[in-house]
Symmetry: D3
Subunit: 284 residues, 6 copies
């Protein structure tokens, strides 16, 4: 359970449908954490299957209260749905995950997915169907496929553009030649690491989905990730982006944390998830 969140009703095993509604019914939650420990197409260092539990673990050290927004996390009606365990068929898994996240949306709550590999974002974007897809990532993730697989973590932004009209990739510093070509199209905005601090959102009333690939950060801040890419963002810059985008966003995820460091990646991911909730709630 994410520290400060309540157990989500659908967590409970063996509950009968005849039970009367209780206070932690989904309808009461404003935010629902969903763990999506997919670890199937990780290219280099595997371990994202342990991402959600690691993020929840390192979140335990945080204070409930947020000074920036003068709110308590436990007051913000966050519930934790637990994890959706991967099947062997990635497309099937994403459909099921999308279904769960869609249920969250139908209950007027904001889904907060914890990956797992970046591929899980495809489910989130499909469930939210935003106008704009905003992503913090070292990689463009604009491939059509990778190793013959159209549902690889390196294709996420491409898939997102099937739902969203526009993608903004903040902190990207690497990709294939084809990806960089695709990135020149009008529907993609790439903001280089050095320029992210100066970037400000300008969404008007368009709806947004925000995805944080933790490898956007410099490896010093998040060594526990599948593909470290040096010359990355500082957490403070990522923090600013999350807080600036959150008021516009209807869905959020943080992905690509694994268990191959001393907690740096997980504690950063956990903090950014909380920053999203605080900023979103403060604005709502």
């Amino acid at each position: 359970m994410f520290p400060g969140a309540r157990a989500h009703r659908s967590d409970a095993a063996g509950t009968s449908s005849s039970e009367p509604p209780v206070s932690d019914a989904p309808g009461d939650a404003a935010y629902v954490v969903v763990g999506a420990p997919l670890d199937a197409s990780t290219t280099f260092q595997p371990g994202t299957r342990f991402g959600p539990r690691r993020v929840r673990h390192f979140a335990e050290s945080f204070d409930d209260y947020d000074h920036h927004t003068n709110q308590r996390f436990t007051d913000l009606a966050v519930s934790d749905h637990g994890d959706i365990h991967p099947s062997d068929d990635a497309e099937e898994y994403l459909q099921f995950l999308r279904g769960t996240l869609g249920d969250v949306r139908r209950d007027d709550a904001v889904p907060l997915t914890i990956g797992g590999e970046h591929t899980v974002t495809v489910a989130g974007v499909r469930a939210v169907d935003p106008d704009v897809f905003v992503c913090l990532d070292a990689h463009l993730d604009l491939r059509e496929e990778y190793a013959g697989n159209p549902l690889n973590h390196a294709t996420v932004t491409r898939h997102a553009l099937a739902a969203a009209d526009e993608a903004v990739v903040l902190g990207a510093r690497t990709g294939s030649e084809t990806e960089w070509e695709r990135a020149r199209d009008d529907d993609v905005t790439v903001v280089a690491p050095d320029d992210v601090a100066d970037w400000t959102p300008d969404f008007g009333d368009r709806s947004v989905y925000l995805s944080v690939d933790v490898d956007a950060a410099d490896p010093a801040y998040a060594p526990g990730t599948g593909t470290m890419e040096p010359f990355g963002l500082e957490p403070r810059t990522m923090h600013d982006v999350v807080r600036a985008v959150a008021p516009h966003a209807e869905g959020f995820d943080v992905v690509e944390v694994n268990d191959r460091d001393d907690g740096q990646a997980a504690v950063l991911a956990a903090k950014l998830l909380r920053a999203f909730v605080f900023a979103h709630a403060a604005d709502g």
Copy 2:
């Protein structure tokens, strides 16, 4: 390159077919190491993709000379083919790997596969087509599928029985109820950990393939593996089995080593591979 092995000819990039034969042509090798870093269906702790390099790394500390058989490893015509890198389609990968191992066999050499997850054994067994499949493993690996996947590491013995007439699983201590039922059939012999030391091979002139899943060992001796299963074998017992079976075997693999320990699993795997070669060569 496995320490003490020569570079295998097909390793060399950019070699033209017009080159004259040189002394390390495949035809000269008696044993060919092939790395098979598959890490797709690992159920719990991933990392077998780093198995082959880790096994080669920890093999560096060994003496060339083997006192038991009075042989030098470098005299035994072992070549290292390098790694066959997984594609995203496991069946396709196994077919390609089987092709490579079949080539080794056609050159009258014995394939020595280093996994990667246990699934790679399916390629080895298909290439060798043995009468008997002998396996050191904590698990029966007799499932028909796992999570909907018929090419999962937990189905290896089942697949082996499509080629071999008989399977002997040494050190097995866990499996599903269905697997244990399947194990009661005449073509499967299960030797419990406590009985392995007393087991002796009785193959007559039947051909054999030997597979070592490093999780057969107690977790103390091989913590760096996907699914640790306590109450396992001591390395000395595994050593005895490898040396007893090697003279009968036409193919060998050691699998399921990952990079999540301090080298214990890799150094054991490397030593057992060498023990196989020494015992096989001493007998030949």
Copy 3:
């Protein structure tokens, strides 16, 4: 949640007392796992506070089915109460924990505590009030106090003897001079590591509480513990003890696992807990 266990009712946050009984009510559980992550008096290497989650984590790789007893773990009505989080006052904490374990007993279920430091056993013994206290431990734990603290992990057997008539310490190999003197009294039996394999229980119809301090094992098998003590037991011997004692036992715990190894200690602890349940249920 311990893999294969159900959520225990009292786990659910925000449940109202007016809810109708459902199928996983405590009354239906035969065994209840309770995490007791106390980490207050650990003398050397701290980290037992992460013991329960680590034991649950490494239990995930196990098959549901147990071949020895022909049972499935999920059929044995094990529920997981979650963790009882330590307060700063150890005596108060033990009283609360004892209350919880007493509730388990009143529901005719067997408490299975996962530590946490060995001190949590005091709560278990007080809740069960057995005739005989059986303990696997490298240490005698017969001190009256340690560093001025009468509720230290090194005093557990002494406290147990306040409830039980007799203590049997299996695998003990170290203690203070005073502890060894106390061990000569009639109510204490110490079985040296070399003699444990030959030990057989002889309890008649006396009730028993079984406590497993994972440091009873040799450090190779359980490096992740507070005070490693070489020349310890092999897991197979511990397994035999657990299975022999379980049919007589009314309470069980496994303690002193921390997060300072590669999973060896936790996977052994998890397996011994399951072995207890299987053997107890097979006999019942």
Copy 4:
């Protein structure tokens, strides 16, 4: 022994009082390192008990000479008292530690405490009795108690304010609502991480005690600490603070280093301790 420091006289076991004074008598030391490996109330990741030895260990790689101040560490009369080992009673321990640090002061030397959890600072502040308490910390540490314990690491600034007239907390970014309220009082100045680089001391002739909680740094620079808090200070900023405050300070500590990283936290702590000594001595 802190590298470059001399053994402190009171280190020597079995010295008789009749010995003639020798050159490293306390009276000759200008600075005395005291290890205070308290690890009792650590909330999340324990291990500060290994802090002092880890800080001394990683200090070994430093050059003796400091270019900034043109001094050699070995010329600055630093002695190492060794560690004061915790008893089970925290208040008693702090009193004893305060006694030791008071002795250092009476010998006209500056105490340099290496924690241990932040709680040990209470002893340092009581021994020095400063006008101003300056602290680098991610946390306000202004609680009155934590988990019922008034001597918890989260209460340090509160305790310091019992001796000092004023507290300055640099780099603080989290706390409870009550702590933030307390922080609004006149005797507390909180400088947010972004503003620390612009902060300059203005103490007049008031006496100062400087405490460095290593978690003030961003987790990338000090992952080995009990409660990582992202969006922290860069070491360069901490360095500047230490050098600016040192000339005013009569006591110093660096705390909350544990052994759960690859040395980053310890090497930073060691460097800041040396920076304090160099800056203090250069000014004196």
Copy 5:
């Protein structure tokens, strides 16, 4: 093999000299990677012997394409010579290594050495015989000897000045008093960490050798190195230096990476090596 590089011809074991030239003959390579895993005089934390393989390993996660220079790494004719294994005599080893690097130069290729301890740079500088030696390093490395050894890693800049007319040490922040004195001579320029971002090369047509000691970076970015020195460079600054100097450089190395972190040091080293190649090739 460095990812994206070809096997260098002299890698192949057992090739006969009568073979006809093939396409990957040294004469065709523009850049040749040479591993130099020397680990003899490492003062504090050893492990540079594993540096080259670790750098190659973590380079696997990079894209082939470089957006900054619009080039593919695989198009740049980089070959990997493999490692030159140290003998026990450091001077002899450096002579052999110098010979190999000299051969690379004679084939009109640029040597790219991966250490190993910094001492291997002496071979590189001797092979290239540059006018200017540029070095990123936390340390001055201007000693005449260290522990009686004139070929220690702390003497590298001093040795370089035997070949080069001038040395520029960027990011240096520590050294002995004698080293700092030597650094005041006209042939040495020291740029403090804070000033590196503002430094621009001004070499005219003088030839340059560029050496990157990974400890120039702050320990957060490269904990896996022999002697961590806090208050170091950010990778972005190092990146800028490498790209600015590369067009002038005729030789390059990156050194002092060991295996004592979670990959941060190796991934940074690998990236800087590639940045050198991209910038050098773009300019050529």
Copy 6:
């Protein structure tokens, strides 16, 4: 300081020779621990330089009292001389170390050396000049040189035979062909791992030096060593050897522990050192 030992007089820095004798003068010690952190010729995994401090660290968890011999460690007059830090010249270092160990002998105390690589044993054997050299080791260590170096860890038994008349190597399982040939001479007895349990000393009144290379143990029990060699001894067997040989021995060492595991190697080494002292003292 080894836990339970006293500070050795020569530890104290700055003591003047005119000081009167005090109670912990060397003459009073019966055993003197000397750290010899040599780490120069380690072939594979370096880190023995951290061996002595790691052994002392993990010894902290032991009880003072030994039940087998009914003795307290603190009663046995063990003093700790501290470490003798290596110079760059191994022969010179061994001479200095031999001098120190010779001083210990002249004070009628037994030297207990903690390595450091096995090479340090040469100093111990030269200082003691025994009739018989007994060694627990996976390796024969009978080379005349290694990589051109006659003072390599692989030459220790050869050097020992320059002083002793006879060598007994227990647990050896690997060596070069030449070493095995040398081992057939009358002055060398090799006891294979399987036979060590049945070996009993038969020294008559010949004097003995006992050296424990921790790699004699199976890697599961001592992964933190330079060259792991599977199929090794169990600690209990090593314990029996140490206790059987100790009464005959005039010098002892335990070597080849590094910091690359979770403490298993160090805790075993520390325990065997204590076992030596207890058995030697009980007999004396």
